[in-house]
Structure formats: structure tokens, C-alpha cells
Amino acid sequence: MRIRPPSVRARLTFWHAGVLTLIVCVFSVGILLFVGARLYAGLDAQLGREIATISKIFREEPDELRDLGPDWGITLFQVDDGGAGQQSEAWEREGLSRALQKGGSTSPLSWTAPDGRSYRVQSASDSSYHVAAAIDETSLRDTLWTLAIILATGIPFAAGLAIAGGYFLAGRVLSPVGAMAQKAREITAESLAKRLPVDNAEDEFGRLATVFNDTLSRLQDAFERLRRFTADASHELRTPLTAMRSVGEVALQNPLDAVAYRDVIGSMLEEVDRLTRLVESLLILTRADSGKVQLAPEALDLGALVGHVIDQLRVLADEKHQELRFRAVVRVHVRGDAALIRHALMNLIHNAIKYTPNGGTISVEVNAAGGGAMIEVRDTGPGIPATHQDRIFDRFYRVDTSRSREAGGVGLGLAIARWAVEANGGQIELASDMTEGSLFRVILPNASTESAGDRQLPNELRRAKQSIASP
């Protein structure tokens, strides 16, 4: 079973206090061990000096040993020379000889008497005698014990302080998160223009807020486009409906003969036709947005495909006495959905014919570019002003509203063309470096310019078939 983690603040506090307490514990034990070692070292050094003094006196003036207590402050000692030996009264009283029986080694050792007092005992041997001395270490033990109690009571205190401080600090550090959450809660679809506060763009929270704000900006743009699209679509749908309504109303107000009624119905059907076409275009774009369009990629001879489209549209250019030129510089094959690419090219070239005045020239060129194929549609029309260039592929966007509507467009052609090209992994762009006319460039990826033997035949066949179908 996993315990659900509490808030970040609590976790930060827990870890902070935990680590701090651990450090304090380790540190306390270290201090205790160090101080203990130093105190015992001092005690042992004193013992060593006492033994040296006792030995010296024993060797030189054995009778003076009795005066060791009053003269030197050495009250606990024993000298054993194989004979009677000598020991101080206190030594005898405490029975310190038992301490020596235990080890027999000459290194200092601690021994606790039955009455609870503890002593530090050390012995030394010469060829003829043993000397032993002891020092009461009870006060040293008390000191160490006191130190241990002080440290032990200090640890919970430090831990408590760490928890309080950690909780406060975590709260301080995390307060921007709370503020951001509060602000973010206020942001709705209607108030997408609001942004999160950025106190310091360099720190982690600042960067987080900046990322959020960038996301919000993109969302706002998307919402704005959607809103505009809906508004434009409604407007375009309303126009034919208004026309139908007024035609119907006028027809109903006056009694007419059969021919006139037929005319009215025909006029209404024309508007229905306009509506149908508009709705079909919108459906294409909606399906495109939802990504539900199934592509049927196949190997395409791009030159043949463009040539076919141009053959179909040539009659429109002829009608306006325009010259429609087509040149395939190299033979390029691409993989793509024929219907979509044809649709895109049809819209592009049709646009060029539509906006180029009578007697103008439209030239279409197919070429290889890098690893891809390039189709350029150039016209001698009025061109597209720089202010409109970045929005020209937007839905319902028209450079000159009145003129374009006259020409029968609703402003979806380039939007559909862009989607059709991009769905095939390509790009479409308007070359902005033109001084006269416009130049639309379509780049399609994964092109092969070589005409391998086994692929040539089907393409030749296809071209032959197309020329029969549409000369």
C-alpha cells in the first residue's frame, strides 16, 4: 500500500526537518565521542605521570610512599615487589586489586566498584615489581553524562525548530504557486487576455509562468481565429439566405405567371447552389481540422498532373485573353494524394486567372528543389500588398472584399489549398519578394527526379490516359 503524498509544502518540511535532525544526531554523537576520548586521554596521561612518580619514589625512597597522598595528591596506588608490597588505604578500601585481576594488561581500563564509583586503573611492570595506580573517574563520567543529556534534549528542540522554519520557508517559496493557481483559476474562455504574474523571469517559477503565458497566448490566438471563422462563416451563410428570402417575398406579394414563378424558383435554386458549395468547402475544412481525412498516397507524375489541371482551366484563361504558360523543367515524381494535390493546384491556378486582368500572363513551372518538388504559379496580376501577405491563407480572408465577392469567391480557396498541400507533407507560400504580380510556391517532399525503367511505363500510360480523357 502506498501512502498518498501530502502537499509539497508538507513534504518539503518533512525532508528538511528529517535531514536536519539526522545531521544534528550524527553531530551530537560525534561530539560526545570526541569529548569522551579527549577527557579519557587527559586522565590516562595523568595516570601515566602518577605511575612514573610512584615508581621513582619506590625505587629511591620506598618509605616515602606513604606521603604520596599528602605531597602529590596520589591516593590510589599499589606496589607489588613479590614481598609484602604496599598499597594506599583508599586502594585497599575500594578493593581495586580486583580490577587488576581482570585484564592483566598494562593499558588503562575503567572499572566500576561495587559501590557504584568508577575508576580508571593502570598498571606497569618492571623486572622486580608491579606498580598500579587509579583515578576516580566518576566526575568525568558525570560530565559526559551531562553533555549527553544536553545534546539529547537539544535534538528534539532543533527538530522542532527545523519543522517550523522549514514549513515557513516552504510556504514562502511556494507562495508564487498559490498566486499563479489563483490567477489561473480566474482565466476562462472569455478572459484569455489575462496573464499570470511573473515576478522574476529568471527563476524557476518565473520560467513556469512564462511558459504558461505563452501557452495562453497561443490559445488566445486559436480562440480568436475560431471566433472570426464562426463569424465569417455565419456571414457568408446569411448572404444567400437573405437573397432567397427577398426573392420569395417579392414573388409572393405579386401574382405572377408560370414563367415568372419558374424564374423565381430558379433564382432560389441558384442561391441554394451557392450555399451547398459553401457548406461543402466548410465541410472539407472541418474534416481537415479533425484530421479524419484518409489520404490515398500514390506515385504521381507531377508534370502530368499539373498539365492536366492546366488543360482543364485553359478555357478560363482563353476567355480573358490571358497567356497560360506551363513548363516542366525536369520530370518529377512525388508520393501524394492525387485528388488533394489536384484540388490545391486547381484553386491556385484558378485564383491566378481570376485576379489577373485581361491579356495578362500566368506561368506555371514544375521543378525539383532539394529533395522535393516545386511548383510555382506566377501571375501578372495586381499582386498582394505586404499587409495582407501573412493572412492570405486564412479562411474567409480576402484582400479586396467587394471585388472578390463579385468574382464569386468566398475566400476559402487558398485555405483549402494550404491544407491540401500540408496534408501531403508539403508547404505552400507566397513569395513576398515580388515587385509585380504574385508568386505562389508549393513544395512537396520526397520527390524523385530519376525516371527508372519500371516506373516509367505506368506513368507513360497514365499520361496517355489523361490526354485521352482531357485533351
Binding site: 430558379g266 435554386l269 441558384e270 482543364q312 485528388a339 484558378h350
Partner: protein, 94 residues
């Protein structure tokens, strides 16, 4: 209309038609007396799989050019536009 030699005459006058205009006229003749919609023309004459605005314009313009050649010099019009429905090739006046 001679489908083998691709020659068309109205009365004694021979008409000079493009291939597409010929195909269109042939289709209209086969459906003579019936209204032919743009959808039918796009599908059967232009062999288009999807309907597109540019193609509608192409059909309108081709019809207009055909009409110029077939009907303009004559008093009696044969190629009629039926508003909202399409086109009709018929000997009688609509």
C-alpha cells in the same frame, strides 16, 4: 454530328469546335430535351471526382463558348440555361 470524324454541322454550316466543346455538345445531344446539371457535366464530361468551384467556372465558360458557336448566328436558340438546374439542348423555345 459525326462522332468518327469529329465534325459538327448546324444546317449546312460546319462548326469549328474544340475537343472539349465537342464532347460537351455530344453529351448534350445524347441528353437532348432533358436538363443537364453542372454536377452531371463535371462527372461525365470532365471526369472530375470532386466538385470544385474552379470546375464550375470552367463548365460555365465552355457552355458560353459553345453557345457562341452554335447559337449566336441563328435566330432559333437551341442551348438554353435553366436557372438553378443547369442546361438544356432543345429544339423548342423554353
Amino acid at each position: 454530328m459525326d462522332l468518327v470524324t469529329h465534325k459538327v454541322c448546324r444546317g449546312a454550316q460546319s462548326l469549328d469546335l474544340t475537343t472539349k466543346e465537342f464532347d460537351l455538345l455530344e453529351y448534350l445531344l445524347r441528353h437532348s430535351g432533358r436538363v443537364v446539371s453542372r454536377e452531371m457535366l463535371a462527372h461525365d464530361v470532365w471526369h472530375a471526382t470532386a466538385r470544385a468551384t474552379p470546375l464550375d467556372n470552367v463548365i460555365d465558360v465552355t457552355i458560353a463558348r459553345l453557345r457562341r458557336k452554335v447559337d449566336e448566328p441563328y435566330e432559333r436558340k437551341l442551348l438554353h440555361t435553366v436557372r438553378g438546374l443547369g442546361y438544356l439542348l432543345s429544339g423548342r423555345q423554353a
